[in-house]
Symmetry: C2
Subunit: 205 residues, 2 copies
DNA sequence: CGGAAACTGTACCAACGGTAGGGAAACGGC
DNA sequence: GCCGTTTCCCTACCGTTGGTACAGTTTCCG
């Protein structure tokens, strides 16, 4: 059972790289088995079909994504007592992390699935939906914490504000890729950070 | 030459719908010729290969996109003298337009191309880049106009601010699709609108 | 009426997703 | 050390798809 998971992981690794670069249709099973050093039968032993591969890929991706957010924002929470400062710091840490990726963000699987909508079954689309909802809950909780201390200058729906974090990240990934400017994504995050600061901090200067 | 363009347009229409729903890999030529009522030879008479189809599709999409932005923001400009008010109105008009789409935004081809990056040649990626740069120029010009009248409360790079419009739209499209909440995109646009208002308007009650 | 444009028809090819089934190492538990 | 399960490999096959080649035909327009 140990060896099997190892091979499975190797397939998923190769698949993730290829899917993020070429989309699902552009990723061939032959290519994956060549990369992994496995046979076709071996591949279909692990995954019934391409749809199952996609599902496993997305599940792993989302878990990893959550882990990264957990780390960054719990770290930020440790460093700053104030919820607003913690959130702003978290955004900065995230921006820096994204800035350090030499080739820019490799792409978001959730977005890839969205742009292939009708190619996948409901299972996968539901995982995707749950991922977006988890983002909403995560950032929504942070904004609620902030609002217990600060009063927004403009009344904004918390969920919509929370969604804005995901929106900026997903949109930033796309724009970075379209423009071929990897630094665009971290920059956009910092612009959003400025907006959030502006929204909650009382007038200064 | 008239009839040819008509057929070409029919192919592109069918292709656009399919590509936005299933991605490029998920769109088969057989499917397109069935929809169009044409033969395979007929298809390849119009497009050398799938890559050329993608190119024509993207070019048409970007042109149409530009036209819509032209209409909305020139209309907004007519209705409001002030550049800030014109921009805010434009965002609202755009949000309403997106809100009126019964099934939500069908998806952005620029984003689809980005998530298929390595599947296309440099031509297409360059068109994509130019499209994003045109957005930057368009909204950048608006923000420059605004800044001639208003002083932003926080110093922000104009290009990054301009990119934020595209970021929110692209990200909003993805989130709307992932969440299966078509109203999310127009809502996100309005959140961004609030941020812009907050950024430029002097403190009020 | 003629020539170009806009196709159709047929035949073919390689790559790909997927299926079927028979085997064979490798590992773990007893 | 034996046994069964897991984890694969091998071979052969199928339908679909993107794409090629090319000859023939219809349609349009000047």
């Amino acid at each position: 059972m140990r060896k099997g998971e190892e091979t499975r992981a190797k397939i998923l690794d190769a698949a993730e790289i290829s899917v993020l670069a070429k989309g699902f249709g552009g990723t061939s099973i032959d290519e994956l088995i060549a990369e992994t050093g496995i046979t076709k039968s071996g591949f279909f032993y692990h995954f019934r079909d391409k749809n199952e591969l996609a599902k496993a890929l997305l599940e792993r991706y989302v878990e990893n994504d959550e882990r990264i957010y957990d780390e960054i924002f719990s770290r930020a929470r440790e460093l700053a007592d104030d919820p607003l400062q913690a959130f702003l710091l978290g955004l900065k840490l995230l921006s820096e992390l994204l800035s350090d990726l030499p080739n820019g963000h490799p792409g978001c699987l959730v977005a890839v699935i969205c742009s292939h909508e009708r190619s996948f079954d409901r299972d996968i689309q539901e995982i995707n939906r749950q991922a977006a909802l988890m983002w909403r809950r995560r950032f929504g909780a942070m904004f609620r914490d902030i609002m217990r201390v600060y009063r927004p200058r403009e009344p904004l729906d918390v969920d919509q504000l929370a969604d804005m974090v995901s929106t900026v990240i997903e949109g930033g990934i796309i724009l970075s890729k379209a423009l071929k400017e990897p630094k665009n994504l971290p920059a956009q995050l910092l612009v959003f950070r400025t907006f959030v600061r502006l929204l909650f901090q009382p007038a200064a200067t």
